[in-house]
Every structure is written in C-alpha cells, then in structure tokens.
C-alpha cells in the first residue's frame, strides 16, 4: 500500500493549493478568449496553455530541468525570442503606405504619448498601499501603451521580469480589444464632418525606396538611439530581407516557419511567468487598469495630432487615421477604416491608416529604447 500512498501523494488533487487553481483558471480563461473570442489566438493560446502547465503542482515545468524553465531562460530572459519575432514582423510589414505619406510618421510619434503618460499612473498607484512599482516597473508597464507584443515582452524581460506575465497578457489582451476600446474614443473626439473627410489616393512607391527605408531607419537608430538597435535592428533586417528581393528564401522562412516556431515557445515561456506568486496580487490589477488607460491615451493623442495636422496640411487628413498610430497592426488600421465607413460608406481609410499604424511600431520601439537608455 506504500505505492498507493505515493501515487496519491503525487496526484494533483492531493497537492492543489488555491493559488494554483486560480492560475489554472486564469490560463483557461486565456484559452477561452483565444479560441472562442479569437483574441490574438496566436499568442494567447500558447500563453494560456503555458499558464496552465506552469501551475500544475508537482509537475515541475518551471523548476530547473523543466520544459518551461528552459524555454523561459533560453528564449525570453535572453531576449532572443522577441527579437526573432520582431525580425519576422519586419519581414511581414509593408511600409509602402508610410513612405507614400511620410507625415503619418508624426501620428505614430504622437500616439506614444500613451506610454509616457502611463508612467505617472503607475507611480501614482504607489500611493495606494499594496503597490510598490519601481521606476523600472513603471516603464515596463507603460510600454503596454505601445500596443506591440514583442516590444512589451522584450522591455519587460529587461526591466521587470517578475511582471512579464501580467504585462504580456495585458498587452495582447488590449491589442485584441482594440475594436472595442478605440471606437468610442474616436467618436467622442471627432465630429461627423471630420470623420467624413476623404483623403487623396497614395502615390505608388518605388522598389528602391522600400529597400532604402529600413536602412534609413537603422542608421537613424544607430546615430541617435543605440539602445533601441536590438529591436529596431532585427525589425529592419526582416524588412530588408523582404524588400531587397534577393533573399526570398530567408524572408519567407522568417515570415512563416521561423516566426511560427518561436511564437509557440514565446507563448509558452510567457505563460510560465503566470505563476500565482507573481500574478495573483494587487499589482496585476493595477497593470491591467494602467494598460487600458495607456491604450486610451495613445489613441486620443494620435487622433488629436491628426486633427492638429489637418489644420495645417494642404491635403486633407481624416483624424481617424491618427488612432491607428498606437500600432496593434493591422487591427487599429481596420478599426479606423470601419469607423470611417460608418460616417461615409464610400470612404476607405484602410491604406491611409496603415501609414500611422506601422509608424506606431517604430514609435514604440523608439520609446522602448528611450526607456532602456534612461531607466534600464
């Protein structure tokens, strides 16, 4: 009967403690959001699954020698996985719309206000007993406002590894909630007439411009913000592989198999940080609240910048495209398009919104670099 006791002592039932159960419920909730609600399933499905695995008592997934232990320490702590993902995203990104209308870069800049404004929110939360965010924590939380998953994971792994799980979950959840968060803000800050503005058709962009663009971005980053070169550099490498046309094999692999493989393991590794001790506390609630605020402020800032630019621009600018500056590619651009169509069923803003949308990716990588340089 010794064996029976051993076997019983090994069961989950005999070992569960409440926090484990709650975290497994959280993981299941993420699976539900991913599968049924289709919230960013490519990341939330593996994150949710990883969260469940990480919280199984006696299974040792996150102990030394466990699968999630290896994945986290090899792929995420080193920053390697988010950087490979970013290379793949670069290879998936078409900067044509941005190059055709470079003013949209300013919209992508303005939307980063959400990031820096959220710093205050995080620090002010420290006034409430139970919160104790350092400046590094606050910066890692604020980057949720950048609406860019790999950037958030990369920065959090450098500045606040303990908060990585909550930050990544918040980032991807809000990216999935863009169609719900943004439209009310967009309608509140614009008039019907503004939303009806038609924009001029974009000029065709030459192949050469597309090849040189990632190099220009890279060299500006080298000159002014070396701290951002891991993120921006890998992104530009991916984009250069795409646009140069001479390494289609490599570009295709970056966009497909490589990014898929890394996505599975990145998700599992992030999920492994959803442990009870780091997630089940007041700070997580604070992070979720701050993330929503960051998104909203970023959306508003992009929109207001677009209104301001519209005042001075010779060509008409529909302020809705400013909201796409938060990135969340291509969801935010689609939302701008949809809200635009509501106002004027013949007004297709999608391509115009892609400019600020991809500018937002660069903008948040630059903001991450500033935070790394000044806080890291």
């Amino acid at each position: 009967m010794d064996g029976l006791t051993t076997l019983w002592m090994e069961t989950g039932i005999a070992n569960f403690e409440w926090p484990d159960l709650v975290m497994i419920a959280v993981g299941s909730l993420l699976l539900y959001l991913a599968i049924v609600r289709q919230f960013e399933p490519l990341l939330l499905l593996p994150i949710g699954f990883g969260a469940i695995l990480a919280n199984i008592p006696n299974a040792g997934f996150t102990d030394q020698g466990g699968l999630l232990y290896y994945i986290y320490h090899i792929g995420i702590e080193t920053g390697v996985f988010p950087l490979i993902i970013f290379m793949g995203v670069g290879a998936l990104t078409d900067f044509g719309a941005l190059i055709a209308n470079p003013k949209t870069l300013l919209l992508g800049a303005a939307a980063q206000f959400g990031i820096f404004a959220t710093l205050f929110g995080a620090l002010l939360l420290n006034l409430i007993p139970g919160f104790d965010f350092s400046m590094a924590d606050a910066s890692a939380i604020a980057i949720i406002g950048g609406a860019d998953g790999p950037t958030a994971i990369f920065l959090a792994s450098k500045l606040a590894p303990d908060l990585l799980g909550a930050i990544a979950v918040a980032a991807y959840s809000y990216m999935a909630l863009v169609p719900i968060i943004q439209p009310p803000i967009m309608r509140a800050l614009t008039t019907q007439a503004e939303r009806e503005i038609k924009m001029e058709q974009l000029r065709p962009v030459s192949k050469k411009e597309k090849i040189i663009f990632p190099l220009v971005v890279l060299f500006l980053t080298i000159l002014f913000l070396p701290a951002a070169t891991p993120l921006v550099g890998m992104f530009c490498l991916g984009n250069l592989m795409r646009e140069s046309g001479v390494v289609d094999r490599l570009s295709s692999t970056s966009q497909n198999e490589l990014i898929n493989i890394v996505t599975i393991f990145l998700g599992l590794g992030v999920g492994s940080k959803l442990s009870a001790e780091h997630f089940l506390n007041l700070e997580t609630l604070g992070i979720l609240a701050l993330g929503a605020i960051a998104f909203s402020i970023g959306t508003a800032a992009g929109l207001l910048m677009a209104k301001l630019m519209g005042k001075f621009s010779k060509t008409p600018i529909n302020p809705l495209i400013g909201a796409a500056g938060v990135s969340a590619v291509p969801m935010a651009a689609r939302v701008a398009n949809k809200v635009g169509l509501e106002a004027n069923p013949h007004n297709f803003l999608l391509m115009h919104a892609m400019g600020p949308n991809v500018a937002g990716v660069l903008g948040s990588a630059v903001a991450a670099g500033v935070l790394l340089a000044l806080v890291g």
């Binding site: 941005l98 190059i99 470079p102 003013k103 870069l105 300013l106 992508g108 800049a109 303005a110 980063q112 206000f113 990031i115 820096f116 404004a117 710093l119 205050f120 620090l123 002010l124 420290n126 006034l127 400046m135 606050a138 910066s139 065709p204 030459s206 192949k207 050469k208 411009e209 040189i212 663009f213 220009v216 971005v217 500006l220 980053t221 002014f224 913000l225 046309g245 094999r249 500018a359 660069l362 903008g363 630059v366 903001a367 500033v370 935070l371 000044l374 806080v375």
Partner: protein, 86 residues
C-alpha cells in the same frame, strides 16, 4: 526616491521621451521625403523579379480561394518546390 521625486523623474521622461520620439520620427519623415524627391520611380517596364511574381499574381486579387483547394494545391506546390534547388 519619494513620490514627488519619482513623479518629477516621470515628467522628465515624458518630456525627453516625447521630444525624442518626435525628433526621431520627424527626421525619418524628412529622410523619406528626400528619398521621394531624389529616387526615381520604378520604370513602368516590369523588372525580372516583378515579372516572375506578376505572372502568377493578378488573378488572385480578383479571386478568392477555397480552403480545401488551398490545402490541395499548396501541397502540390510544396512537392514542386522540392525540385527547385537553391
């Protein structure tokens, strides 16, 4: 660091950060505009690469694709690819 100090630090970060982001993306805007000015547009004649793609491309935008067909033909293509040595 007390709360006032850290809020001051956050204010500095806000100021510096937004300035920097605007300067950076602003400079990029200037660079892209210069690029548009000095780089000639693609010649209307399709180049070798574009041609290779074009022969396959145009139908696709007009056309949708049946997912089972995708599966079928994709795997056919993959088999075909195997013959494409580097």
């Amino acid at each position: 660091m007390n709360i006032t100090e850290s809020l001051l630090k956050a204010l500095t970060l806000l100021g510096l950060g937004m300035t920097f982001v605007f300067l950076f993306l602003g400079l990029l805007m200037v660079a892209v505009s210069l690029m548009a000015k000095y780089i000639p547009a693609d010649e209307p004649v399709v180049n070798k690469n574009a041609l290779k793609r074009k022969t396959v491309a145009p139908v696709s935008t007009q056309q949708g694709v049946n997912p089972t067909l995708i599966a079928a033909i994709t795997s056919a293509v993959q088999q075909y690819r195997k013959t494409e040595v580097v």
